[in-house]
Amino acid sequence: MSSQPNRLAEGGAIDRSKTVRFSFDGQALTGHEGDTLASALLANGIKLVGRSFKYHRPRGILTAGSEEPSALVELRSGARREPNTRATTIELYEGLEASSQNRWPSLKFDVMAVSQLFAPFIGAGFYYKTFMWPAAFWEKLYEPMIRRAAGLGRGAGVADPDHYEKAHAFCDVLVIGGGAAGLAAALASARTGARVILCEEDFRLGGRLLAEPDEIDGRPARDWVEAAEAELESLPDCRILRRTTVQGVYDGGTYAAIERVNDHVPLPPAHEPRQRFWKIVAKRAVLAAGAIERPIVFGDNDRPGIMLAGAVRVYVNRYGVAPGKRAVLFADNDDAFRTAVDLAEVGVAVAALIDARKLPSAAAQAAAERAGARYLSGAVIKRVRGRQGVKGVEVRDASGKTESFDCDLVAVSGGWAPSLHLTTHLNGKPQWSEALSALAPGTLPPGMSVAGAAKGAFGLGSCLAQGHDAGAGAAAACGFTGGSGKASAAADNDRGTVSPVWQVENSRGKAFVDFQNDVSVSDVKLAAREGFRIPEHLKRYTTLGMATDQGKTGNLNGAAVLAQATGRYLGAVGTTTFRPPFTPVAISAFAGHHRGQDFRPARLAPSHGWAKEQGAVFVETGPWLRALYYPLTGEEPQDSVNREVANVRTKVGVCDVSTLGKIDVQGSDAGTFLDRVYANTFSVLAVGKARYGLMLREDGIVLDDGTTARLAEDHYFMTTTTANAVKVMQHLEFCQQVLWPEFDVQMVSVTEQWAQYAVAGPRARDVLQAIVDPAHDLSNAAFPYLACGNVSVGGGIPARVYRLSFSGELAYEIGVPARFGDALVRAIMEAGAAYGIAPYGTEALGVLRIEKGHPAGAELNGQTTAHDLGFGKMLSTKKDFIGRYMAARPSLTDPARPSLVGLRPLDREDRLRAGAHLLPKDAEASAANDQGHVTSIAFSPSLGHWLGLGLLAHGPERHGEILRAYDPVRGGDVPVEVRPPCFIDPEGERLRV
């Protein structure tokens, strides 16, 4: 293998002493430190790097930057395989593995390339026209077919093993782009003492200065870049983010940027992320994103070896690579023809300069002379020879005469267009500039200014001057008026006459506008004929500009072809909208740390560690992880739940209820406040007592329920359901701050402060009496049902006991400061051992409450009223409260509303299913006969059969009636008997023993 045959002997910003090994499609190759994958492939003489999206046409490397539409490869292998990465932006690293995409069996011989033969049939709107009908074919035939044939690259198919993270940064001035204008802006603003962040997409600062033999302040531009970089590094409040692309502009001076921290190494070092997603908040921003060169559209303009002229200079001057042996230049501007000189200087033969402009240019002519090349003005490329790589071009000159040139490189340029994408993210509209023959930034996002080529100033001197002024101006706007130093100076290159040529008429072969989506001139013209005259419509119809490059090199040409096809002025045709992100962003970068168990924070109850030791199975309840059940070794889930329930009914159980929302409500108006927010009355609750409370929304529907205890005259302790804790707190704060700011009431969440356990069952008192310090008497006389009070445990640790029961058994809740929660549950278990205590989880909790007919989440579903749930009598008529009047609306008090009932299967062996519809016994299963549904079900170990709760029209009047519980989803159809909701101890005697 000849090593890097196209590498120049000298020059460029690569380190020839450091050889980097890599592979492409399994072929072992070498490059140098400082290379991109694209430059290394070119150095090895590889021009064919992929197959196109729709037609599988051979494609090469068009650009040298992030705008690349063609050279997309799969990078890495295994779990780190990443499709559609641009070879032009991949920094070469030791061991890099890349492979071409969209080809089978090989890049050079691709079976699917026959689709080119059908090209006339898969033009614009093909999908819309062909796959319309029959609709049934979509899922089975069309979609799988399209998916197989189309699409570039393959995802890894397994989880990304690397870590990604987010970060926030703040600055006075954000400079976007580290080329001439950006460096000048960063210097001018950072010198004033302003906090500056400079983001550069490349791994090296300098932008086009790395690719042009320019001089600044009388010395080589590269030296100036190094000096600028060193000065910026030395300033304490200036931060340079290399390999960082600013992807989007958002409100309030917020910018999103992706830093590719470790994409340039084989594996991220331990503890380091692969990428970092920055959210940058900047008072001012200077956009110095440079410009993107526009190709000229002609037949077979996508052949490997056809490259933008500016990119050719990058490969020659920055990477020391000759992208070909014999070149032809085809352009409509003098800047591009400079390429001939650069090529000639490194020994690449230049056959001809094809100037598309009608009038000859002296500068271009001079360049041709220096390069020893022919110069043809008013000429165009009519035909390209070579399929997998350019072999020559046929040129039609001004007189119509055809001439042929052999070449393996065609450098093309239709001039430069400002990279203004970020200026449009907040709805700014670009403006057509006749002088530039391109779109220029229009209205800018607040706080942003634009400098240099991004503003249409293509001369180096102008870039430096504009950058300096924009940087100094941005700093001054932030209050930094100190010295911004002297602006650097350079000459402006003469661009010559601008008379843009967009496309070559009557050239042979398919002429591509959008390389990545394979959209050609004929597609645009067809769309225009079919009435798609607006770029936004053209885009949707032809997919022009919808690929991962968002049409960076194609949109303008597309608009020009459209303008011509519809006989309009290009400046009046308009453009499509650029949206974030500027370049493709990995989903992992958006996710950052929030993957797997960290998808969102998990809240762990104080007993979590202990429960884990017991072998508990956990369930997510909102953000909390709660113990679902505590299986003994080898025990089935249902058996565990049955055992836990039975243990509570016959002995005693303990359950962590710390996750319930807990709110301290204090102040001299606390009682009055609670009277307003609860449907029932709390101001008359005695100190040392607790009460069940029901809260309504403004519209009369139930918001939440829970118990509230009065700990002192001016201190209530409210509990909410776990699910509604945050909502209730917000509701209370709204009421206090907006509705009744005159009340003396203060609220604070103490959910986290208290570890709280329910101890329930006939032996609950025995257990708890053993837990509290001896001074406290928990006898029925001293501490009756619904009593509450301060106690101490473990020798003086403050605790609170509430005699509340959700299970229907003798029960207490005991709370201690959360750091004692772990010790307390262990103490309870130890004290309860003599009484046969066992922990119970949320599943058993649910069974216990269903046996008792207590409504919970499935019944408090945001659609039920107090009447529906059997709480109608709790609605106070003696006071005003939120929801009072709306709850009295006739439609909310209609007895035909589905209301709470108990249900049990007529055949006790039958299983009930939540969600089943309740129908009259012999009625047909139709929506018209639907009278309600089963909301909660449980197997009751106490009764030995399934039972359920449901919401049934006229429910309370129908106890004893037989209905159908019809479940079409799971095929259930069970006769059920309507019962009062409470199945166990309806008199509540066990609560009060």
């Binding site: 993270e165 970060a167 926030h168 940064a169 703040f170 906090r195 070092p269 331990a270 503890h271 380091e272 992320p273 959210k279 740390h593 929030h594 960290d598 969102r600 924070p601 998990a602 809240r603 762990l604 109850a605 104080p606 560690g609 909390w624 301290d664 204090q666 102040g667 001299s668 108006d669 001016d714 201190h715 005159e742 009340f743 003396d744 009431v745 203060q746 604070v748 103490v750 959910t751 986290e752 402060q753 208290w754 570890a755 053993a770 837990i771 509290v772 445990v793 473990g794 020798g795 640790i797 403050p798 201690v816 400061p817 959360a818 750091r819 004692f820 929660g821 010790a823 103490a827 130890e830």
Partner: protein, 206 residues
């Protein structure tokens, strides 16, 4: 049974184990210490008693209650403002419930006091890279120009609610978070601090 003492347990017990972690190097970029046993309590001024409360705090604790998001450090008790008329009292001297008891006694009728000593995990995050670590989760600017000594803020880190304040030297910050998310927070913190190398100082909880 009741005479058997109950031992407190940090939410980070067994998780925050003292030692040197992450990228190796001479000096760790970040130091992390849990402030265990702190007294913590919320103090909310009673209606129309704001001035009297300020006076009482000045008399009893020797400091002026801060206005806005600031921390004022007293000899025994510090106060972190987190809302209009709302403060988080922090104390080493009055540990655990003792702080809330003391405040209740001294500010009776002037403020509503709720003990929070069990409900928060407080971490002190310091070292030369402390700000870089916090920037990976905290959406506020900690530059001394924006967050000078004595500043406090209520914000979020990686979707978790936090209170943050800066106390003594310019490189370390106290972060109070809800106890229940301590393990999740620790995973975020250590994943974020790893690249700088970090040291967990002191016992993570007894």
């Amino acid at each position: 049974m009741s005479d058997r003492p109950l031992h407190p347990r940090s939410a980070l017990a067994g998780i925050a184990v003292p030692g040197r972690y992450g990228a190796p190097g001479s000096e760790p970029g970040v130091t992390i210490a849990e402030r265990v046993g702190l007294g913590l309590a919320t103090v909310a001024a009673r209606k129309e008693h704001g001035e009297a409360l300020k006076q009482a705090v000045a008399n009893v604790y020797g400091i002026d209650l801060p206005e806005g998001s600031r921390i004022v450090q007293g000899p025994r008790v510090s106060f972190v403002g987190y809302g209009p008329g709302q403060w988080l009292a922090v104390s080493e001297a009055l540990d655990g419930e003792a702080l809330a008891c003391d405040l209740l006694q001294n500010l009776k009728g002037l403020a509503s006091i709720s003990d929070q000593s069990g409900g928060r995990t407080v971490l002190r995050i310091g070292g030369p890279r402390a700000r870089d670590v916090l920037a990976k989760g905290l959406p506020i600017d900690l530059d001394p120009r924006a967050f000078p000594l004595g500043s406090a803020a209520t914000s979020t880190i990686s979707l978790m609610g936090v209170q943050i304040w800066q106390t003594d030297d310019t490189r370390s910050y106290d972060i109070a978070l809800f106890r229940s998310v301590s393990a999740s927070f620790w995973r975020w913190l250590t994943a974020s601090a790893g690249e700088y190398g970090y040291e967990v100082v002191g016992a993570g909880g007894a």
